[in-house]
Symmetry: C2
Subunit: 243 residues, 2 copies
């Protein structure tokens, strides 16, 4: 029986989502819980995609197969009772055997939170504490250049090797609430560091180090990868995955 | 020269505000910073009052005397550069030599945050994760009984020995935003565990274990201390101190 889970986690104390020997990871914590639930058999989970060290999730998804038949509600409770308190299963659902948490993704939304007001110690691991002014209107102009189908190679980690770096961004916008700037991106998929690099480069626009139009040029021109800045992970949230 | 500081801290990793041998405390971290700033002389700070282990502050205040003359802006920067990242000085001001951060308090405000929605791992140390429904209207009726001048002995930790337990609460109310209940109390002073005990007892009203009117009876009747419940510290914030 195949199940899908929707879950949140605080990335602060994990060495990222993906399992690695000798590191505390989200994937391993959930697989350890499923081992107990699934009659002590090793149970591999397949997520919608990994998140980096320090990145949080409000709506990550994954699928896995269980030998035991268990109700959705009991499965949610069982996993939650076995995972540490920085992971939480929001929903567990039975799905068809051909469901796949990565291949079937239609849309993903990421948000990045940045504080331009006074430093807030309570939010130091949850909102990037920039704590200075930014030219928000210029960033609002600039973010629009990300919308559409583009080759995002310049915005992707050099470690990340793909056949194609073409992705579509359906929407990208900036909202400001009580000195917190919220960058929101929805698209068909995002590659390693892509959101952090898009936000980091927008930050350079907000500081006046780049003009708004230069975003278009950095997307199109392979020589301009040097202008891309990677922002810290702590303000980044995988918000939602749609199928 | 006497200075006053307004500061915030994340109480999660402190053993409370007040200095204790062998424990990490807010007071000690700030005094260590001032030792360096004040020409390596031991500098005692006097706060508006202590907060317990796990309790946060958005607007704690303290005063201290420095031998060196330093501008307000430089003092703020200097302390911030020397304290750990879970403490932040919001403001530093020169004050008269007769100013006293505890004796001169006119009004203090505390807030308590409680989540009645889905468990949120990002907020587990900042909002009490109750994650069940409560009868909010009954709690709104009940909280009004705290307003006014009362003997709060039943709501104070038994460890706390005072000549008088009479305090005045100027306002007390409940606001609900996106499944977060915010309890707000403003008064001339609060004793050890008082806010946590008031909120804990209101929680029993919200669960239907006590009726709203019983708050009045618990205040007035020494035999009813047993009905008082101490809620966890992580949802509690010292919000503001007024002089």
């Amino acid at each position: 029986m195949r199940y899908m889970i929707t879950f949140s986690y605080d990335g602060s104390n994990f060495n990222g989502y993906q399992k690695q020997d000798g590191c505390r990871t989200v994937e391993e914590c959930i697989e350890n819980a499923l081992y107990d639930i699934n009659d002590h058999s090793v149970t591999k989970i397949v997520s919608s995609g990994r998140t980096d060290k320090g990145v949080h999730a409000k709506g990550q998804t994954a699928h896995f197969d269980l030998n035991v038949n268990i109700t959705e509600y009991k499965l949610k409770s069982a996993i939650n009772s076995l995972v540490p308190d920085d992971i939480h299963i929001i929903k567990a659902e039975k799905v068809n055997d051909d469901f796949h948490a990565r291949y079937k993704v239609k849309e993903k939304t990421y948000k990045y939170y940045l504080n331009i007001g006074e430093y807030n110690p309570m939010e130091r691991n949850y909102v990037y504490q920039y704590n200075r002014d930014l030219e928000i209107d210029k960033m609002k102009d600039a973010i629009k250049f990300f919308i559409g189908t583009h080759d995002f190679k310049n915005f992707v980690s050099s470690e990340c090797k793909k056949n194609s770096y073409v992705r579509e961004i359906y929407s990208a916008d900036i909202e400001v609430k009580n000195n917190i700037i919220i960058f929101k991106f929805t698209g068909n998929g995002f590659m390693k560091y892509q959101v952090r690099n898009m936000v980091g480069t927008l930050l350079k626009v907000g500081k006046g180090k780049l003009d708004s139009n230069s975003i278009k040029d950095i997307i199109d021109n392979p020589n301009r990868k040097k202008d891309v800045l990677t922002i810290k992970p702590e303000g980044l949230y995988l918000e939602e995955v749609k199928y």
